[in-house]
Symmetry: D2
Subunit: 281 residues, 4 copies
Amino acid sequence: MLLHCPDRQGIINDVTRFITDNRGNIVYLDQYVDTIESRLFMRIEWDLEAFLIPRDSIEEYIRTMIARKYEMEFKIYFSDVRPRMAIFVSKMSHCIYDLLARYKAGEWDVDIPCIVSNHEDLRFIGEQFDIPYYVFPVEKDHSNAAEVEKAEMELLARENVSFIVLARYMQIIGDNMIAAYPNHIINIHHSFLPAFIGAKPYHQAYQRGVKIIGATSHYVTAELDAGPIIEQDVVRISHKDTPESLVGKGRDLEKIVLSRAVTKHIERKILTYKNRTVIFN
Amino acid sequence: MLLHCPDRQGIINDVTRFITDNRGNIVYLDQYVDTIESRLFMRIEWDLEAFLIPRDSIEEYIRTMIARKYEMEFKIYFSDVRPRMAIFVSKMSHCIYDLLARYKAGEWDVDIPCIVSNHEDLRFIGEQFDIPYYVFPVEKDHSNAAEVEKAEMELLARENVSFIVLARYMQIIGDNMIAAYPNHIINIHHSFLPAFIGAKPYHQAYQRGVKIIGATSHYVTAELDAGPIIEQDVVRISHKDTPESLVGKGRDLEKIVLSRAVTKHIERKILTYKNRTVIFN
Amino acid sequence: MLLHCPDRQGIINDVTRFITDNRGNIVYLDQYVDTIESRLFMRIEWDLEAFLIPRDSIEEYIRTMIARKYEMEFKIYFSDVRPRMAIFVSKMSHCIYDLLARYKAGEWDVDIPCIVSNHEDLRFIGEQFDIPYYVFPVEKDHSNAAEVEKAEMELLARENVSFIVLARYMQIIGDNMIAAYPNHIINIHHSFLPAFIGAKPYHQAYQRGVKIIGATSHYVTAELDAGPIIEQDVVRISHKDTPESLVGKGRDLEKIVLSRAVTKHIERKILTYKNRTVIFN
Amino acid sequence: MLLHCPDRQGIINDVTRFITDNRGNIVYLDQYVDTIESRLFMRIEWDLEAFLIPRDSIEEYIRTMIARKYEMEFKIYFSDVRPRMAIFVSKMSHCIYDLLARYKAGEWDVDIPCIVSNHEDLRFIGEQFDIPYYVFPVEKDHSNAAEVEKAEMELLARENVSFIVLARYMQIIGDNMIAAYPNHIINIHHSFLPAFIGAKPYHQAYQRGVKIIGATSHYVTAELDAGPIIEQDVVRISHKDTPESLVGKGRDLEKIVLSRAVTKHIERKILTYKNRTVIFN
């Protein structure tokens, strides 16, 4: 269970007592109080084996007995329900290979029912890993953007997708899709946000003459490259780097930063509040 | 000697032959070709002991015999001439302490004839290290900015200052002073530029929810926080950090990044071209 | 209060209830369960203003009512009691300057009653900062080591020193002193421990051809360079570095790593168990 | 051409003049003088289009006209001859996936004629990427080690392999193979060498309580984990990490560090001298 609410005395006690009184064995508890927002964030995990409340009723009981009292927002996940992840790609393979290599190695408790692209280029990767690869070509003038979005959303619904990973997908995501998957679309931007928003960040970085470049993974919101940041990392460069060598060094950053963010998301360790993320570990 | 010029065949040969033919012993040579700008950057150091050309004529000889031929910009420094560095401060002591600790420990071949401030607060540091401390109070409305600049520039001229270090000096530097010390005023900005330009970058970073903060040392140009970057570094933060804790973590970054930039400047290892720095090591 | 004990259900409840039942207002609570050792570590801070139990009796009450039940080891600190820190130095000034600059800037809630050295070299720093500087020369053959240790310990006792910082103090600390200040002597070792234990680690690093060097701050125990690690950091180097340039780059690491460790110690955020540290933030 | 020799005046002149006099157009030149060993290291690349000396005779001409004079060791590579790389694996897939993803994306100018393993587990990866996968099972008591080495070396010879990458291959490489591929077998060790040599470095790191873990890529020599280091990197950990979570965090380090080393090797940017590497960029 992930929750957040205005910070008041007694919350932790109430929550833990509710669980232990009903014979739940707490196996993980982490909480954090944002003293500026005066808000408590909490992640608690317990064993359902001897739990007295039936699985289907847990959410209702918690809402009734705890959440209302504390104006709490909460979400319950069951560890035996694997999230279903869709990967969106364009032409670059480094991020999707990194995702699929982890998936195949069993690093993640996740299903990947489909890969979505606006190009045929990476179909062979879908075939290598035996994952259906769907192409929805987007016109250069974006005239068919609404149609494409509709078709993609039907596919995602049909495949029961719970979250989306944009693995260097070079298209703007439409507002309907963003609204349908709030804080469930993970993007990788190839700069140290908020520096170099938008197109060609490595060229921008070269022009500015920075000595370090970065990559940023964030949830997609309606405003471009402005959603809650999940993970960032950087690498040192020098005057010897060209825009091309930056692209090369950046690739390693991008895939690692994206995969770290996906890991946290799959493990349900991310809480989002007012465009900032709380990440438990 | 630091030089740069359009890249053509034969330059390195010509320069090294000029030195060795005149019995100079080359002790350091590093060069870098920017293939995008098609420009050669070079740093060469030689021993003057047996050098045939008198010290005072070297510059003229090089201009006549080499620089014109290659449209070369160059600068000659003598290692027995110590640069004279002025430190500008306001109220925060961490950067100036770091500078003076290195100076006192003999890490740098530099003289520090004066400390300049707009406040009395850090006069005790000048006294601790026996360095004259001058206060030029700036009015809140900046009405006396021109006067102050003039007085400061007179002091710098009188003290024969060769470069200026802004050690968290919280005032805008005037255009006259920038013009008088081109690429010789080193600032430390407390963010990973170009992110969070201007005031209160740590608060901006907190608002944006970044996972890494940085500091940037750069030469001061007429455009705010936009001069050639010399050095940057970063430190990882988390959702637990407040603007206040960022200020604390940032202090360590700022002083190290500034001192690294000053080191490179004192060692004459920085070349600047089109708002980017080439830094030899 | 810092505590650790075997992990059992109910501990957090019991501790927090004890405090709130007695009208203590909890302002900080962080806990961590080491699942391998099956041990709970906890840091809890509360406001004494309305607390029913008199300050002098708190320790006894907790021992009687909670600690015995849970086989708990605990320590209580009062935030209005400033720890008293002694600094030991030899000839290098970078670490002590960094410590004193923070002290002078008011970054730390600490008193520094004395500086101890085996050399006269840095007496001027004691004078700059108005802190008594004591020299206890150690013979090259260490023949007077026992005497020196005794004299130093008398000084520390007289000055009511609560912990010691070895700011590049180039002498082995005697067993009596280590026994008297268990996990209260902080050393900085100029390598990434456990690599390059012992003398001249930068020369060892050069010989081995590593691409990164580090610094390690740890509590001093009887075994050389083997105590619980508090903080480490690294910096990238290259084949161009000589042992001398490594010494230079290492200095920046050493002082920052040492000061970070001292910060955590002063804030009582470090728990030690079986040669490993738990560090709250 | 990569070369190194005792440092003497005139070498760079002689080499560059030899090339330009014979109408070679120099496109890359980097040199480095190790002042401690008094040895010059140089990497020079030139265009053969108009070069007067026939390709097959270049080596002989350089040996005769330059190398002898300066006691130079040198090696010539032609950029149109792609090195042939063999990958050795055991059961872990993260490193080989990273290598093959780069290969498939065309990042490297290299051929991969074979994958060698002591286990069947990763045969599916060979099939995914259409690369022959050979299994040479090693007995637990290593009784067949000599035979296996012989068979592997025959395969490598038949496939004309120029260098070997151990992508978490969990077997000791025999002396014959090391002798046959001096500084041409690249290993990834999952620690920050020289810390935690040998087996289970993450467990060793956990036991020691370090705050940072690393990975090291190095050339294999007869002494275990003691060969010339090519690349290292680190990641910060905390007391919350278990040996298992270290293994997870380490995987990302390992693959990136190994691939960076392989990149440098393929680009012929590594020179080795006395167990240290000089790496051009």
